[in-house]
Every structure is written in C-alpha cells, then in structure tokens.
Point group: D2
Chain length 336, copies 4
C-alpha cells in the first residue's frame, strides 16, 4: 500500500499513522518523489482502507496491483541522477564508467588499476572481495581485509568503490568502505538482501538475475525502493540462450526497454554480457547506443594472469580505446 | 582439497591436522563415504600439499579440479537413502511423495491437508511459511508462528514437514519445527545459505535455480555436502524456455541425467515444472518414468481459493488418483 | 474460410459453389469430420460472405480467426486413428513404434534391421534416404535408388516405411515407395511443402521445428489438413534451451499439451529429443507416460559404426528391452 | 572437397577434371577467392583422393572437415563488397539501408514508399510478395503480379528490390524482377533452396533461422557459396528466448561475432529483431555500433494500417530520423 501524505503533515500525525499501520502488522518506510511524500506499508493481510483513510495528514491511498510502481516512469517522471560526490554523477546526461578487475588481488594491483583509471578520468572502480563461486573449492575473494586495503587507496585518489555484497550480515561491516553496493545476478531475487539494502543510504547496483525477466528486475528494484532507498542502478549482464558461441547473450533489448519503463539509470556489463574479451568493445558500444547510462567493465594489467578468469577482461590499452569510443557514442546518442 | 584420513586415525592426529589447516586459513569439515573418512578443506590460497602430506593419519590427498566431486557417483557408488524416521525413507527403492498447499494458511487448512495425506499414506507435507515473492507488496507467508502451528499438528500425525528457508538467520529458529529444509530456485546459488545448511544435520531439498544448469545444481549440492551434510535431495522444477504455452518447461531430461551423475535422490516438482493444473498428472508420471525418486505436489481442498496461486494446485480427488498412478509407475520402472 | 455443406448437397450445387469460390480467387479443398462435410477456401482477399451464403447446399460458413481450427479437438472430438493396412494402426488405443537407422546405408543393413523389427513385432521402419545436412559437404543420403531398394525388402516383410521428404518435387517420385512422408524439423514451416503434402493421400509425420512453438506446430498441421489430408501425426523431437548437457531438450510438456489440444496422434522422438544414447530409454518411457501415441527411435546393428551419427542410436539389445518397457508403460497409462 | 586449380589450367584439363568428378557422382561448381580458382565437389561417397590428385591442372586438394570454409575469413581475407550497380554498394565501408513495407499492397503504396526512399537517399526497397504465414488462412501476398508492378516503378526510380523467395520453383519467374533474393528465417535451412540460389548470379540476403546458431547460419551460407554464388549477405533478425517483453530478442552479439568469422556483409533487421516499433531505432543504432554493414527496416506511410502487422513498422517521420542517426553511427564506428 502506498499512502500519499500531506506536505504539511504534523510530526504527531505522522507518528499516529505509522503506529496505526504497525498495529495492523504493516512495516512502513518513507519515500519521496516529485509528486510528494509517501508512506509505503507492506503487511501480511489486507484490511479495510477506511481504517486509516480518515486519519489526518493523509492525501491519498493507493493499493498496489501492478507488479511494480515506484520505479516506473508513471510514478516518477524525471530520470533519476545519482550523485556520488566530488562531481561524480550518473544518469540523465551524466555518463558513467566503472572499470577494474574481476577480483581484488593485491595492493600492487589496486595501485596499478587506480593509476590507469585516473589517467582516463574513470571515477568508479569495480572489483570483487566477496566472490560468489559456483564451486565450493574456488577462491572466494580477499574479504573484508581486501576491502579495507582497497578503500585506503581509493579514497586518496577520489575513486569510488563498487563491490558485491552477498548477504545481509555483510552490509554493516562493508558500509564504511563501499560507495556502491552491488547485488550479483545470483542474488537478484534474494529478497531479504534487497529489503536490507533498501534501508541503507548508499547506492545499489542491481544486476538482472541469470535468466531474469525485465519485470522481475523491476520488481527487485521495487523491493529496495519501497524500503526507502531510491539510489538504484539497474544492470544488464547477459542472459542464457541456446547459442553456445558466447558465454552469455547480452540483451541490449533490455537496455532499450528499461529506459522506457523506469526512471532509474541503466548500466551495461559487456564483460559478463558476452563473456569474451574481443567482443567486449562492440557490445559496450552497442549498449550505449541502445540507451545505457553507464558501462561496467573488467580491466586488468595482464588479463591472461587475472584472477579468476581473464577471458572477459580487457588490457589497459584496449580499455583506453574503448573509454574514448564510449564517450563519443554517448555524445552521439544524446544528440539524436 | 579433500583429505582421506586413516580409519584408525587418533584423536590427537585429527586435531593436529585440523589445526594445521586452520593455520593455513582453511575451513574444514568432516565427511564419510563408503570408501572412508575425509576432511574437506576450503581455503583462500593454494599451498604446497607437502606441508600437510607428511602428518600422521593421512592416507591420501585430492586436489579438487572437477566442478563437483563428493556428490558424484564416482565418489560414492551406492545411491543415498534418506531416512526420516518412523519408516519414512526416500531414495534407492523408496519412493517418496510430498504434497500440500503452496502456503500454510490456517489451522483448518493444515488439519484438512493432514487428513487427506493420511488417507493416502503420504508421509511428507509441503507448505510455505516464508514465501519468496517477486513483488514486495505480496503476502510473504505466516512465518514462524505459522510453522509452529503446523508442527504441532504434523508431529501428532506422524507427518514430516518440508518448507522453504530463505536466509541463514532463519535456520536456527526453524530448526526444531522442520524435517526438511527446502532451498528455493531463487536461492539455489545463495552460497552462504548453502554453506550454513551444510552444517545442519537435517535433510535439504535443493531446487534447481530458475535457469540453472545441471552442473550448477550439482555444485550447489557440493557446497552443502562439503560442509558435512550428506542428506541432500535434488529437485527439478522446470526451466525457462521460449515456449509460452506453459508457465515453465519441466525438464525431465535433467532427472534422467542427474540419476546417472549423482548418488543423491532426485525429486520432481511438476506443479512448478509446468505450472498448469491439468498437466501436473502426466508430467508427474513422466518424471517417475524418467527416474525420479520422489514427487512434490501442490494440493488444496479448494484449489481455486488457494493462496497464492491455485493454477498449479490439484484438488484432493485429482491428487488421490495421481498418488496411485505414481506408485504403479514407480513399480513398473523398478521392474524394467 | 470453412464452409459446411449439406450432407445431401447435389453434385451440381457443389460444382457451382466451387466455381464461385474459384472466381473469387479462392483455392478449395474438401474435408470431412464427425460433424459433416466441409469445403475449405483459402484466398487472397476477404469478400462479403453473403456472396456465397445464399447458394444452395450450404449449411454454415465459418470465418477462421483462430490460429488453427481443423486440427483442434473442438472441431473433431474423437481422436484420429491412422490405419496403415494389414493391421498396422496408430492412435487412440493403438500404440505405434517406429525404429530403424538414421540413414539407409546398404542392402545388408536393411535386411538386418527388418529381421530385428520382425522379431520384436515392430511394424514401421524409419530411415533417411534424403538427408538434410547442416554442412554442404556431408553425405546427403542414398536418394531414390536407396528408397527403391528399401521398399522391395520392406514390402515383402509387411513393414511400413517412414522417411523424410525435403521438397515438393520429390513427392511424386517417392510416392510409390513410401508409407509415411516425414517432414523434418527444418522444413516444419516450409509452407509450400506442407500445402503439397496436404494433397497427397498418404500419412504425414510432421516434426516440430527446431524451436517451434506448439501453436506453430498445430498451424503447420492445419496447412496439411486444410488441403484435404487428415492423416497427420505430430512429432516432438526436442527443443533448444540454454542447457548444454544434452544435444536437445526433449519437451515432454508438449506431448501432454498436444494431447489436450488436438485429435491427431502424437509421436515422441527421444533419439533426437535428448540426443544421447543412454538417455533414450528413460526419455522414451517418460514420453509415453506423458501421453505419446507412439515412439520413433534410431536403432542400428552397430551404433558406433552407424551413419551419420551413432551417438543417439540404440543397439538391437537396448532396443529390445525398450520395446517391452514401452508397451508396458503404454498399458499402464491406458489403465490410469 | 575443395580442389584448387592452377591459374593457367587448360580448358581441356578443366573439363577432364569435371568429368572425372561427375563419374564419381560428384556435383561440381567453380569458385574464386583472392587465393585463386577452385572447384567444389560435393558427392555421395568418399573416394581415394589419389584418383584425381594426379590429373593435370590441379594445385591442391582440401578435404572439408570444418563446418564451413569458403565463407570464413581464413579462406577469404578481404571483406566482400556487393555491387548492385549505379553506385549502390554494400559492405566494407559501404553502409547499406533497405526499407519498405512488410507486404507489397498496391500501386499507390509502392509509389509513396519510393518517394520516401528517394527523399532519403535509401536505394534498396524491401517488401514481401510471397509471404510465409504461420496460418494457412492468412493472406500470402500479391505474388508474381505484385512483383512485376513493383519492378516497373522501382526500375524507373533506380531503386533495388529485395524480396523473399520461398521455393526453388519461384526463382526462375522472379529472376528478372528481383535484385536481391531474400531467404526467410523459416527457410534458412531449406537446403534445396540454398543449393538453387547458389547457382543464381544475383545477391542473396540470408536470414538466421528462428533459433539458428551462428555456425548453422554460416553453414547455410556455405551451401550457397559452394554452389558458385559469392554474393551473400547474412542477416540477424532476432532469436527466441524466455523473455516475453519483446516479440524476439535481437542478438547483437551475433553481429559482432559474424564480423569476426566471415568476410560476408552482415545486415541487422531490428523490425523483426525486437518486433516493437518504438524500440526499432535504439536497436538499429546498437546493431550498427556492434558492426552491422547494413540495416533492413519496415516502414509504411500509415503503420497502423500496414498489412499484415504494423506493430514493428516505422512511420516515414520516424524512419527519416533513424536514417540520419544510422549514418552518423556508422561514421563514428568506422572512425574508432
């Protein structure tokens, strides 16, 4: 249920409303859009709307019958821009690039990557410290220790950090060292994690699940948004199809369609999207032309030595050429 | 790494080995198969195997290069049978049926279902109390309170409970009231949850993820097994394909192939597998013929009133006919 | 357009009707169902139905708005049985098995196969003489010459022949030597071929296309049926999915659904359906349990030497065991 | 088998070679690449290569073990450019646009379309006269009569015609009125049609089949090429996936990969590729960025009245904006 409250609602009225909802076993969170202020109530059982409709301070009450609402363009007309501070913005005219290794490996690797990013005016660095691995015997990342090491260098360099969070319990520990919490494809429907990230005030990069539909991706975003966190970026990272020539099939159609359905920024992940290094540049360029607000890429000083899988990782030289091309493509698209 | 230990290893030797591994930042767990006793060590970095190879009490050391090992037939030749007590068994000659509603709704519903199951000698009851829902606005189940209510009735009736666990934090609370922890399709690659269930001594029903491969399913099982819990059932629940005539495409090929690759029991979920009530019986029968050790089905006194979605739910009458057919099909297949 | 004619329509009335339709540039064919006699008219442009509605001998006129009509159960309630003579029947209580090599290779191979079939009371032999091959450099079959050689032996042995026709021009030449014209997956939407086979009075085995939908398969059958040939068997032969563990993913769901939608017999092709020899038996048995009226299988005296691809071909011993199992499964299913 | 012949082979030698091959029941065709002249021989049975290896005029003999050879970049290094005369070229620096209605409907429609194309310097017009239709009751196009009407206007205007051919028998009749023979998705593995088009001296636009692999598309092209026709364009037109938000899923990955594997031009068909009008422009632009040498689009004066399905058809205004964008995108990509 979405309750629109009066702009001049009194503190006491707001509290009365919240208490009433909680007495009905509804969890509440507060959200604001260009149309006004809202209380989102999610509860176990339907009840007679009139039980709260007469409380003071309420302008309107919406039952939610659509699969998603807050993340749709109907609900928020103007595109969301996410501001990471120090001039780093993403969305609606601000093109964002995120690059870095698959896994954070060492102090030297971090240093080398940061130099490469700075030389190319890329302000957001990606890298895994908690790695979801299909096999239990694989390396699962450097963990918290690696994250702190990374943070120290990144902070000095004015570089933002995006890294994957895999479970609710990690959020608190990671919070101080992370600029963007990434939700991986395997956790895109881990609803408890989404709920928890909705209560955090840092941006979330939400990947489409392994073979998730566009509707499911938007619903997962709605989980985060309805808990109060509006800073969400959606990420297309390839789907599974019958075609075996690539590791995944990048679905640029999803990028175009998401841009029509939602006000949230859309990011392309061509490294996972096609999964083959030599095809990352054309697929990245295609994604921008289809409407992407940003691109996240794997880059490594020596891709063939990269942990854990350099097959989809660009060298610095390849990445440099691509950054330029992407900026030109974004400019061209914006002018059309 | 998998370390085979001598059958007559001394307590002190075992402790020395475990400490040594932990000093190398390896987590350890103990597993036994028909071939002997093993220590599974999962760690961040490779090290020289000779550092432990000379310790007393060790018979052999295996590096794990395969995607999965412990769950494969190579590792354990005899098929796993899971014993739920009071004569309820599943696997290798013991056909298992699990039936019940999508969601636990009320005391009356539980009572009615249990009567139906008892009348048909079905010993395991399914039902959701924590429901993963695509939309944040949907009913998410009765939770712990519903589980306790259910447990009281089931225990008296000698009925086993299988229900979904969605996060690590729930395991402890649910433990006393659950006979089988179900991992849903959306959490099939939630590796932290799998790790945690590997440390529990109750059986796990592990569903194939939304568009998971057979290899990934076996790897997810390996997560549980390598943590020490060998009581795992694998569940085929339909995959996503281009065909829009059904809600999912039940992949009976997976059942046949899993039976060749693993010693673990394989369960078919035709209710989700095809997702359309009138097709549940033929698909259930086909699954048994393809090799399934058990079938899990949605059944409700009044399917059209079932929460949350009765489209794939059988009536009692339909279910009764199906139970009989399934038993005959299982008998026929066993005789071929 | 489907025009129901009066049972006692006069020859002159029928001719007047046909001529009228042809003057409107409509092609016509005559079809009969349990409800009566019909004229099917397919033309380029819609016209005012009253232009023919007043002609004598017409009972009713149906515009066709559904995707398919004549092949649906609504149109013909009783299941179609196809009679191949000499007691060989298929459909509605008559279980049919078809077995033989991928390609007809030699006189000796034909002889050996026929002996094997006779010893097992299998009355229909499959084999390719015109082979659709992805690569232009591959062997394309023995052609007409091979077909005649095959026919001579089959006829003596009372064995029916099912073989693939690839183009309209082949129909006439093949006609005298073929009992069932098979349309392969790659030609399942070759509409000219379907039209032509609709004008032939021999049965057609129509395969689902590579990634065809159930609706498309029924529409392709409608092409044949609406041209006047009602002897059609539909064949499920596996679809393409993301799963790489098998060559194709046998879709038993399609078998169950087709049995509900159409009165035509449904055949399972497990050899292509999963494409791996050791899985052909379980998938064949599953298909029968899901509702198949028949099974078509690849069998060869020495599968490892079979042309062109023995990976999905059973040995005689494997096939013998399977025939028995299939008959028992069919019997069980019929009794449920 | 591919036989490289000496550049100075004598007429008599060539004839002797051809006769020898035909006596071995091999069909032959002649092909030339940048490396020299070749005879392609396709036959029923393997034979001892020495039977022809000693004939005069032969430089080398290649057995074909790869899935395709002549269409690969290994075989022909320089990209193929197709010249349609009067300055209309496509491939390797020549960007090609093809636009027009789904179906040719009337003289007025042709006139209007040609004016629109001329105003925008688009030189190739698409349109269907023989329409493959899933349902036998649907309009199948104006046929030969419509083609002639179209040809008269197109010729005067210097516009090239691309239209679908559905069967071998149509080739001869269509030949005089067609500039590019299009092979539709449903006929992409109609090998007899491909063989026949390989013997024609007009360019072929070959679509990827409904759920065809990249390898199969290249093998289908090899059918045409090995018969002697080297003027082939490959066309990506969307594949089938589980995602139901679009009618098809345009696979831009295929465009990027085809450009690496083959020297043949690659065309994008965004109208069918995503199948929804408002997404045709972003997907077309993305396709060019991924490497497409040309784009084929559906355009109609009044899309909502277009036959047979205007859902994927652009209006003139929309198309005009897109043509400009595509040219700029092609220019940018060429400069990167």
């Amino acid at each position: 249920m979405i309750i629109q409250i009066e702009p001049n609602i009194k503190e006491a009225e707001l509290q009365a409303l919240t208490e009433k909802l909680e007495s009905l076993q509804y969890n509440t969170s507060q959200v604001s859009t260009q149309f006004g202020e809202y209380i989102i109530g999610v509860g176990k059982r339907a009840f007679d709307i009139r039980a709260i409709g007469t409380l003071p301070g309420i302008r309107d009450i919406h039952r939610v019958s659509d699969a998603y609402k807050l993340v749709s363009k109907k609900w928020k007309v103007r595109d969301t821009v996410i501001d990471f501070g120090e001039g780093v913005k993403l969305g609606s005219g601000h093109f964002g690039m995120m690059a870095g290794p698959c896994s954070i490996e060492s102090e030297e690797q971090i240093e080398s990557t940061i130099k490469h990013l700075q030389a190319n005016q890329v302000r957001i660095m990606r890298g895994g410290v908690y790695k979801p691995r299909s096999s239990p015997y694989s390396f699962r990342g450097l963990g918290q220790e690696g994250l702190k090491m990374w943070y120290q260098q990144a902070q000095k360099a004015g570089i933002r950090i995006v890294t994957e969070v895999m479970m609710t319990e990690q959020i608190e520990d990671m919070y101080d060292y992370v600029d963007i919490f990434q939700v991986g494809a395997r956790n895109a429907q881990n609803f408890n994690l989404l709920d928890a990230l909705g209560k955090v005030d840092k941006p979330v990069l939400l990947k489409r699940s392994m073979s998730g539909t566009i509707e499911e991706l938007l619903q997962s975003a709605e989980y985060i948004f309805s808990n109060g966190n509006e800073k969400i970026m959606l990420c297309e990272r390839g789907i599974r199809t019958y075609e075996k020539a690539y590791r995944n099939t990048m679905d640029v159609n999803a990028i175009a369609m998401l841009k029509e359905k939602t006000h949230l920024p859309v990011i392309a992940d061509p490294s996972h999207g096609i999964g083959l290094r030599s095809f990352v540049p054309p697929i990245a360029l295609a994604s921008v032309m289809a409407g992407a607000d940003g691109v996240i890429m794997e880059v490594h000083e020596r891709p063939e030595k990269a942990f854990s899988d350099g097959q989809q990782t660009l060298s610095y030289q390849e990445a440099e050429r691509l950054y330029k091309g992407l900026r030109q493509a974004y400019e061209l698209r914006s002018s059309l």
